[in-house]
Amino acid sequence: MNAIEFIDFNTFYGSKPVLQNINLGFDSNSITAIIGPSGCGKTTLLRSINRTAEMERGYKSQGEIQVFGESIMEVKSLSYLRRQVGMVYQTPVALPLSIRENVLFGPRYYGVKNRSELDTITEYCLRQVALWDEVKDRLKRPASQLSGGQKQRLAIARALAVEPRVLLLDEPCSSLDPASTALIEELLTRLAKDLCIIIVTHNLFQARRISNETAFILDGRLIEKAPTAILFSSPQSSETQGFVSGLFG
């Protein structure tokens, strides 16, 4: 069973169609990259999965998305869905809390009270994102003092803290330096052992470096999805060929 399955999925902002007739599956324990020109609907696609797209005015959807076989419109609660599907956004966001409380934001809501358990979660998640050594002496300090790259890793730690099975990342490295980018790529590769990871990226080299499969979207339509090496070396469609060779985008 695929971790995520799009079935005849369409979205609209007002009457304007954005995603059209998407049929697409994502494996668990693998990284899938989504590429496509600006405005083609990549963010909308990710935010449809955790249903945060519904926060936008005028958003409507048709068709179905299944997460581990369950339709996202029929899950028992939004909370249940979003706990399974973590998401990290383009802008690194540190909640206006301490570093520690950023990590514990979800777990505290889900009822973890025990002090040592909270400590364990904090350390485990920060280690997972290779941030522990950098921040272990200032866990109580405001997270706003971290650098952009650190904030982005903190955002991943915060998402991991509620033990999701899927991790969505929307251009997570677009505002980061090469060193932070390398750290995050390494970490994603490691996380993919247990998670279904979907990453939107404008960086084709990044897609090539870290993803097992790549999907190419153009004007809201899925053009092609294939194992990354194949998509880049011998794409089926001429549009993909044009995009990956840098003709447009």
Binding site: N50, T52, M55, R57, L78, S79, Y80, L81, R82, R83, G86, M87, Y89, T91, V93, L95, P96, L97, F105, G106, Y109, S144, A155, R158, A159, V162
Partner: protein, 280 residues
């Protein structure tokens, strides 16, 4: 060349009008200090009005107390509904028609002349519910008057909180109220408090709504809800209008102005604190 000249001219205009406003304010304060200052002493602040006609001697203690009671009561009665409305508008009612209607209602409430609010509370509380001229009625009239101020200032403070926090928190599956209490409210607290203070100042200076609902020429202002109270602006009005004592009128005005300036400076510093928080 021409452009810099225009720019300079504009700057000069801003400076001149700024200076002009400052000058007006300073001359009001200066004048009040000159006319009223010499009569302010501990006795004036701490004793009740006396003499004949009443107010020619003694002080304004019950009026200070009464004003403080009135604005405190007004704040207590308006912050809960005001804050709840603001939270609805900023956190829950981003879509649909209801928030549009509520915003419109609040805006219209802000436009109701305060004497009309006073007359409404007179008809409802003082007469129909039998409260009589009382602290309770005055507090209610002021609460209705400041309600829109509180809604608008709290709403704007909440809306100024970065939407990314809401997005990130929502994505973790936590409830809106959890996010509200842990992130949004603390983040907007300074701005919300500043709004409360501005409302306090607005209520402290208002005369019309309490004239018909709460104020008496002489009262002990003990804080009993169903007793009339004295209030600074009303006392000032009586002293002045009945030519009882110009000296005491100016001294009372100075005390009232001092109170208002104090409250507003506090509000402004909270506002600038909030701005620093927001830009962080």
């Amino acid at each position: 060349m021409k452009r810099t000249l225009m720019d300079r001219l504009q700057m000069a205009c801003f400076w001149v009008s700024g200076l002009f406003i400052l000058l007006v304010l300073l001359s009001i304060i200066g004048y009040l200090i000159w006319r009223g200052g010499p009569f302010i002493n501990s006795e004036f602040i701490m004793s009740s009005p006396s003499g004949f006609p009443l107010g020619t001697e003694g002080g304004i203690f019950p009026a200070i107390k009464g004003t403080l009671w009135l604005i405190l009561l007004a704040l207590i009665m308006s912050i809960i509904p005001g804050l709840l409305t603001a939270i609805y508008l900023s956190e829950y009612g981003r879509q649909g028609q209801l928030p549009v209607i509520i915003n419109l209602l609040v805006q219209s409430m802000a436009g109701v002349p305060s004497i009309i609010t006073g007359l409404f509370v007179y008809a409802l509380g003082v007469v129909t519910l039998g409260w009589g001229i009382s602290l309770l009625a005055g507090g209610l009239a002021l609460a209705i008057m400041v309600f829109p101020v509180i809604v608008i200032s709290s709403r704007d403070a909440l809306l100024a909180v970065d939407d990314n926090y809401r997005l990130v928190a929502n994505s973790l599956g936590v409830s809106r109220s959890y996010t509200l209490f842990r992130v949004i409210l603390p983040r907007a607290a300074a701005g919300i408090l500043a709004g409360w203070l501005l409302a306090l100042g607005y209520a402290a200076g208002a005369t019309a709504p309490i004239m018909v609902t709460a104020a008496a020429i002489i009262a002990s202002s003990s804080g009993a809800l169903l007793e009339p109270v004295m209030a600074l602006p009303y006392h000032l009005y009586i002293l002045f209008n009945e030519h009882i004592s110009m000296n005491h009128a100016y001294a009372t005005a100075l005390v009232l102005l001092g109170l208002l300036l104090f409250i507003n400076v506090l509000a402004l510093s909270l506002q600038s604190l909030q701005e620093r928080i927001n830009s962080h």
